[in-house]
Symmetry: D2
């Protein structure tokens, strides 16, 4: 059994709490939150004990799952690393890339196991795309298309604190692009606007954007992002190569078709991102636990966290400057 | 060039006229019809000459395409066979099986090339199913499901003259079942009702029916027929075997999807049977012409025409008696 | 909290145990099994206590979930009814219809809440079909097509004890037909064979079958069953009515498409029936618990259990006699 | 009847000849080509007469269909305009935009009916997308995604003469973007490479590219182009708006699915672009003929021809400069 403490008992904390409680090889010992009431409620629901955040790093848990607010991640990583606890950290490490790099170095020095919460890698269909690529089904990769469209724009307060659409929404897809291709961006161009809500623009951000990247291998990659659809959560991947093309299709909630008149009406997409990716949290935790148990699996790494963030920063710069931005690759 | 005369200038006659006029290896010489006006109109439209029906068998055409009313088919076959003309005859040969058999024997004795108008065999998707079966993809056939649903019931006058749903509608699918499986029915059970229009029932027929057959190999076959859908013409094949299953799916008219709210709305089926199978008439004519030119292709034969009709008769008997009917197989 | 005891700790018992342990409104108190070792293992895994079967009916649980072998169901129902415990019983009540009726009457007299384990009613896509029907989308029902194809034939010992393909496999679909249509069969014809494994035939059963039914309303219904596919578990529903047609499509495991050459290769079906219907057990338990908590939901009833079984008996008789069988309706 | 002369008897000329010969309201009078032999062969095949190119403008045809090599289009337009003949001209008018503008002005001055050969507007599924947009189904347009992937790269000689991937391949999609959105690009960025064949790069062109555009309304548009797929011709449109999203899906050649093992194998895409768009040539001609007959339909106009070409020039400039290019809009 791997003994876990969870830090953070907000929405994401509770998502992870449910996975921790259910996993057969996990002993879900502690929940901590700056809001003790929240910690107690989550702990009670899942049969864990609530403790102070400081106590987490004095406890003898094997691993800490960091799901608190972004601005606390780096410090919590430092502290867990110091006492030798394995770390599963929600993304991003820190909105400030330098701070994120410092925290990463601390974890590396400590040598503790680490996973960043790029949960989409654990989506079954996305993993099917990755498998087809790795098995050579599509040959050399030439183009990648990623679609990321959330049904409902977040509140403006969230937008202001989020670092912008590139760092908050596109970042998962910067990671997917790297993971799928095994390649690094060397040039990036982003274009966007506040088409959904002018207040997003006034907050200095965009809600609709296209990003194109040239990878080191020469492959071209495209990501489209919207903060609002009228039809639920829309995520789609397509990778085109010299021998074929593989796609993780739009996912429907049900397999129901109604034939009437000249039309066929089918059930559509998941209402929100969470319903679409819920399973990936369980799968991600399971992968982390198996690595702690000695299995040799590739987890989303410190390097992946920093690389996606570097790309997001460059994309943000391109959005602001209106020009392509070169990366070191 | 193969020189053709067309007999019959009604709806089906005009369908064939268009194919004849368009085929590069066909010289479309004559159109005949008991209604001379109709013959003239069709001839004018497609650059052929209108003649009397009798004159067809005095002309030096190579082939005659019989698309007149069913009750004239057998006589026209006799006459064409006598003068050595190749025959492409719309189904059925005759509603009376004995008469059909006599006409068949005349054609056989004359040794002229013959094709019965089972055009669905020439549907590209159905042919794809047949190809998968013939290549061993699904192993030994165990179950067959055929769906035949027309959008609009024919007029009662047509129903009365048609020989009933089994002989008029299901017959194409009796042929498809034989063709796909290379097997013969040995037992048949049909159940049906006039659920769409009571007048169909008063005319002694059904408009909604299920047929099950046991084939000589042991395979089981099911056919469902309706005379009226609320969503266009619906035809579907599914063949299940020991190594897999192959399907000719419902065919959509367009590839358009509209995502709105919790639904996806797609374009549906063809409005009528003709739009769905229009291409098959061209393909069927082409196969016939290629056989006349010496190619070795399997055409729907006299034996196929009689076999489907025998099955339709047995199905009709089962409908009427309420009991399964055995066939010789 | 509803307090539950589970009787039966075999495969199905463990499926239910997982649902009981996870349900927020359930206190999962006891597990009983004639094999005490099995009971202890399941109890330990899910945090319940193992007890003797007799002790279940002396305990103060509110409800008992019966998932033991079929031959024990009726007795256990009697005993639970006597002490006023609510009953969730796996299907069937008893292979002997008279015994099943006696047990049903005992439950009715006692007035305890009851649900039979027709879990497929709780499938999300099937429920979508039911909803479309209930909302009048397809008008008056005219035809129903149900496909039930399991990937792997059960062992011959299971076949011998199962009551045959109609009572063991088709029975879920007899229930779905009644549930979807709100109608009763009045005539049934079944045809089948041992095409997969001759040993099934020697055991007096079939592994491949077609069933057709005429319902009291006149609607026609068709069910096809196979014990072995080469492509995973295949379940499909289609209901055709005067105003449209609604379908619960074949369910794919993943949304991955690979385009290569002239083909598109997509991920196929679930490997087994359990993966396909796993979610329905959770949903079924939840419905039962909500009814115990006072909600007004329709559960699969005693009458449904007896009706499906009566139909399965009639279908078996038809299979054996080769003739259609009339039912009271 | 509209009397037509066809200029050009190469591949495209013959495509148009087949449509002209088949159209019921067209009298297909003449075929001209600088290669008299080719003109005679095409004329013979379709029952027209071959004449000298010069004679076309002395004949009394109502309309001329220009399908000769690109460098002759502008002159032929001038001559037809001068004698008052209606003009259906294959795209582009001229690779040199100034020359194209002069030819356009001549046509405008003459006031003759004109259509440029943007045949994809007449694709049934694309037209379905346009209709959904025009009926307000998706609200205000925010993003457009267009995929254009041809199966086989053209010979290098063709690449050299074509004006590059933007002017030769992407141009149809620049037109589709304008047509679908009713909007004009104001900023364009293109990125590409010779990933398929280094010789394309040596010829100064790319074979793989991504284009992003900002439209005057603020909508964002993305086009991906490849000269070589391993799976046939791939064309796809997707338009995303404030109220929904509408898609013209990848088009499959047949509706056949084979279920085997863990996979479903379906028939894939058309082998080439011509099979995919063949129907559009007939539909385009029909629209042109109907306009000549007085119907009020929107045809791809002189302005559309110039606008798409202007965009292609700007995209080419962006490809070469590596920077976004602004357009007047």
């Amino acid at each position: 059994m791997v003994h876990f403490a969870l830090v953070g008992a907000g929405f994401m904390g509770n998502v992870h709490a449910a996975s921790l409680a259910r996993h057969p090889a996990v002993s879900f010992d502690f929940v901590a939150d700056v809001d003790g009431e929240r910690a107690r409620a989550t702990a009670a629901k899942y049969g864990a004990r609530s403790i102070e955040v400081d106590s987490v790093f004095e406890s003898n848990v094997d691993a800490v799952l960091i799901a608190s607010t972004t601005d606390t991640h780096a410090d919590l990583m430092d502290r867990a690393a110091t006492v030798g606890q394995a770390i599963y950290c929600e993304k991003p490490i820190d909105l400030d890339l330098d701070r994120a790099k410092r925290a990463s170095r601390a974890v590396e020095r400590a040598g503790v196991p680490f996973m960043i919460g790029f949960n989409r890698r654990f989506d079954r269909s996305h993993a099917g795309v990755k498998k087809a690529i790795d098995e050579g089904e599509i040959g050399r990769i030439e183009m990648v298309q990623l679609t990321s469209r959330g049904p409902t724009p977040p509140p403006i307060s969230y937008v202001r604190a989020s670092g912008g659409q590139m760092r908050d929404q596109a970042i998962h897809f910067f990671d997917l692009a790297r993971w799928l291709t095994g390649d690094e961006p060397v040039e990036i161009f982003a274009i966007g606007d506040a088409l959904v809500d002018p207040a997003v623009g006034e907050a200095g951000d965009v809600d609709t954007s296209l990003v194109v990247m040239r990878m080191a291998s020469g492959a071209l990659c495209q990501i489209d992002c919207s903060r609002r659809t009228a039809y639920g959560y829309d995520e789609r991947l397509e990778v085109f190569g010299s021998l074929g093309m593989v796609e993780s299709r739009r996912q429907r909630v049900r397999d129901v078709s109604l034939y009437k008149g000249r039309k066929v009406v089918e059930d559509g997409m998941h209402p929100g991102w969470f319903e679409r990716v819920e399973d990936t949290y369980r799968a991600a935790l399971d992968a982390f636990v198996r690595v702690l148990a000695g299995e040799d699996l590739a987890l989303p790494s410190l390097a992946a966290a920093l690389a996606a963030q570097t790309t997001a920063d460059a994309a943000t710069l391109s959005l602001q400057s209106g020009s392509p931005v070169l990366l070191d690759g």
